[in-house]
């Protein structure tokens, strides 16, 4: 009859006491499960919702901070800034992006330049909207000349869009928006060398019977411009021959139901989007720009203004914002914290974390309260079980005295009492696990409904904040952030008593039992068999 068997006999034969203790542990267990279940469900809902969002971060110039700084300067200092604006403006530099890319968490970087240009030896995919049916491929721009006569100039509409990147991956390929169907994406070497390569859409390839390895020509100027600028740039120099190295599929479709569909230009069609490295187009852009300046100088200046033909190529490749995709949505905040100091004062990271945090506030509050409940219950449980055990010891002094008199060690006595409590606690907590998930679910729902109602009532204005995301023409301002509503986050809320929570409850329970037995153990250690037996005899 060792201490383990004695513990079992005591539990099974002292039924009333055992049942009362089981009920105590059951009640404690329920409260703990409710707390842990709600906390875990809230955290899970947040995690699931966050995981469904793109892990993207915008690196951008902090315009408001920059302008505030400039406004705070003296006029002379301001003039100095404006005189060398390109050098002084806090652009996002290539070095900064490369530094960020060294972080293993970075999956893709979009530092894009967008240009609307002209198809050279191929046709843009038609939209078949009213504008095309009316055969409006040219526009007309009219103005009054110096003699008051109206002058009209016809110009050709741009029909293709170029998105060029300075890095060898694009977020769209990571999110599945784009997928290379044939060939490949351009490499960092091709970017660095400014290789004339490009990727076109399946639709554009099919429409023009183009394949990987073919070469297409794009024009940087419309026919009217070529005619006007012919004294300053050759037609050849306005053309750019690009080798097709990849054909990609885009999930973007032309929205024929869109309000402006009938007035859309061809370049707005996702099928007419060509992808290429930024450095591959920069030289042509520079030449075109110089020609434009010369033309305007001749037309409207005195023709003597000197045009600086030595453009700083690097300056043409500065960017005002880039979007970085990392590998884990849950790591966005850490990524920002790890790198925010490297950006300097007038640049910043933008993420949808702020929005997410606001949206998930009801869950946070719920989680916080649930956590508080858990700790209050645990502390109370320790006190209650300690008191119960200490009181029980008073009734079991005689038994302890008897055991000591026959030489049972005090450690074995403590161990027996500890095991008795553990068994009772396990039984109580097991019952609590069965009922706790239902209770936790109900309590969670009620509290969260109340939370959501309160949030709706008081925080509507705050929730309108979309995290600083600029909504404009999508071609230039692609929003890589995932829009998510509070309802979507809360929909993920589901109380589930996972094996992890069950393990947590048992570990917590054992901890409570262990702490609760400490004081009674100290009491046992002070017991003297003679005193006990003399008093009882």
């Amino acid at each position: 009859m060792n201490f383990l068997k004695r513990a079992l006999k005591n539990i099974t034969r002292g039924k009333t006491k055992t049942i009362l203790l089981i009920i105590t542990f059951f009640l404690i267990g329920n409260l703990v499960i409710v707390g842990l279940g709600i906390t875990s469900a809230a955290e899970n809902a947040k995690t699931k919702a966050r995981m469904s969002m793109n892990p993207v971060v915008n690196v951008t110039t902090d315009y408001s901070k920059w302008y505030e700084y400039v406004e705070g300067l003296t006029e002379e200092e301001q003039q100095e800034i404006y005189d060398n604006y390109a050098q002084n403006f806090p652009y996002i530099t290539e070095e900064m992006i490369y530094q960020l890319m060294e972080d293993d968490r970075v999956k893709a970087v979009n530092a894009l330049s967008v240009n609307t240009l002209y198809a050279g030896d191929f046709e843009a995919v038609p939209l078949n909207n009213e504008r095309e049916q009316n055969q409006e491929s040219n526009g007309q721009s009219c103005y009054m000349d110096e003699f008051g006569n109206e002058e009209c100039v016809e110009y050709e509409y741009e029909n293709i869009a170029i998105k060029s990147n300075m890095y060898d991956n694009m977020i769209e390929f990571e999110t599945g928006m784009f997928k290379v169907m044939d060939g490949r994406f351009y490499t960092q070497d091709e970017i660095d060398n400014g290789s004339p390569v490009c990727l076109i859409t399946e639709e554009l390839a099919e429409y023009n019977n183009l394949h990987v390895g073919d070469t297409i020509t794009i024009r940087l100027a419309g026919k009217d411009m070529i005619e006007r600028f012919k004294d300053f740039i050759s037609e050849e120099d306005t053309r750019l021959n690009l080798e097709i190295i990849g054909i990609y599929r885009t999930e973007k479709k032309v929205d024929e139901g869109a309000e402006n569909f009938n007035w859309m230009d061809k370049y707005e069609s996702p099928y007419n989007l060509i992808l290429m490295p930024t450095p591959s187009i920069v030289d042509s852009q520079i030449r075109m720009n110089i020609a434009q300046q010369k033309y305007w100088n001749q037309m409207y200046g005195n023709g003597e203004e000197e045009i600086d033909e030595n453009y700083d190529r690097a300056q043409w490749m500065t960017i005002s914002s880039a979007t970085i995709m990392i590998n884990d949505p849950l790591d966005v905040e850490n990524f920002i914290n790890d790198h925010k100091d490297t950006l300097g004062e007038y640049r910043k990271f933008e993420s949808d974390n702020t929005t997410f945090k606001q949206m998930s506030r009801p869950l946070d509050t719920l989680s916080l309260f649930a956590n508080i409940i858990v700790w209050i219950v645990v502390v109370n449980a320790i006190v209650i079980i300690t008191l119960i055990t200490a009181l029980t010891l008073k009734n079991r002094e005689y038994e302890i005295g008897v055991m000591l008199s026959i030489g049972v060690t005090k450690a074995k006595i403590v161990l027996q009492f500890f095991i008795e409590l553990v068994i009772v606690a396990v039984l109580g907590f097991t019952l609590a696990v069965l009922s706790g998930s239902m209770i936790a679910g109900k309590v969670g729902e009620v509290v969260m409904d109340y939370q959501v109602a309160t949030e709706d009532q008081y925080s509507d204005e705050e929730n309108n904040n979309n995290g600083g995301i600029y909504i404009g023409n999508e071609l230039w301002n692609t929003n890589y952030f995932t829009s998510i509503t509070q309802e979507e986050i809360l929909e993920e809320y589901e109380v589930e008593i996972s094996p992890l929570i069950i393990a947590e409850i048992y570990i917590l329970g054992l901890g409570v039992v262990f702490l609760s037995i400490l004081i009674p153990s100290a009491m046992i250690m002070r017991f003297n068999p003679k005193k006990i037996l003399m008093s009882t005899n």
Partner: protein, 225 residues
């Protein structure tokens, strides 16, 4: 005969109401193996205190106790109680939520003495020897009569295969008939089992049957003629 327990200059006293009361005063005595001793003495002479000390439940203020020439303090009182002696109390002192059999088994489990492997059978047999049949052995001790409980207590005392049994007023709670039966059991412990039994008692019936009657008076033990 060899000495099983030797008491050497035992002193024990306590302070009561500001006055020191000396219970044992340089008490020395030797108990021989295989004998049945009764310790007699007037009320308040310190019989139970003496028993507590020689049974290792308490410590003397000074002096030594040797069990077969081994100092029990050096041996460790817990170990002494566990492996060398058995104690029978007036109130039986059995564990109420255990059966008679389990009470006996507990002593067998706790001791480091050699116990047969078929512990349960041995315990049943031992109980039966003291008049507790199997059906009663499986009952909770609280369901047994006083006499039966005391038999269980005696069985438990010798279950750990010890040679020295102490008893404190073992018949104090029993009627005359049962008292006679229990005295026989104790007598039997020496005669059949060869144990040394030291009983503290007021009872003349018990002392009459003992091999040696020892008087505790004014803190000193003396063998009575």
């Amino acid at each position: 005969m060899a000495t099983i327990l030797k008491l050497e200059n035992l002193c024990y006293g306590y302070v009561d109401g500001g006055f020191k009361r000396q219970i044992l005063e340089n008490l020395s005595y030797e108990f021989e193996e295989g004998r049945f001793y009764t310790i007699l003495g007037p009320s308040g002479s310190g019989k139970t205190t003496l028993l507590s000390i020689i049974a290792g439940l308490d410590k003397a203020d000074s002096g030594k106790i040797y069990y077969r020439d081994e100092d029990i303090e050096k041996m460790g009182l817990g170990q002494y109680r566990r492996n060398k002696i058995g104690i029978v109390f007036q109130q039986y002192n059995l564990i109420s939520y255990l059966t008679a059999l389990e009470n006996v088994e507990m002593a067998m489990t706790e001791t480091e003495n050699k116990i047969p492997k078929n512990q349960k059978e041995v315990a049943y047999a031992l109980l039966e020897k003291f008049g507790i049949v199997k059906s009663k052995a499986d009952r909770l001790v609280s369901k047994l009569s006083g006499g039966e409980q005391q038999r269980v207590a005696i069985a438990r005392a010798i279950a750990s295969n010890v040679d020295l049994i102490f008893a404190d007023e073992p018949t104090g709670n029993l009627d005359t008939a049962t008292e006679q039966e229990i005295i026989k059991v104790f007598k039997n412990l020496t005669e059949e089992f060869g144990k040394t039994v030291i009983v503290v008692t007021h009872s003349n019936e018990v002392s009459k049957l003992s091999d040696s009657r020892v008087l505790l008076n004014e803190g000193v033990l003396k063998t009575m003629e």
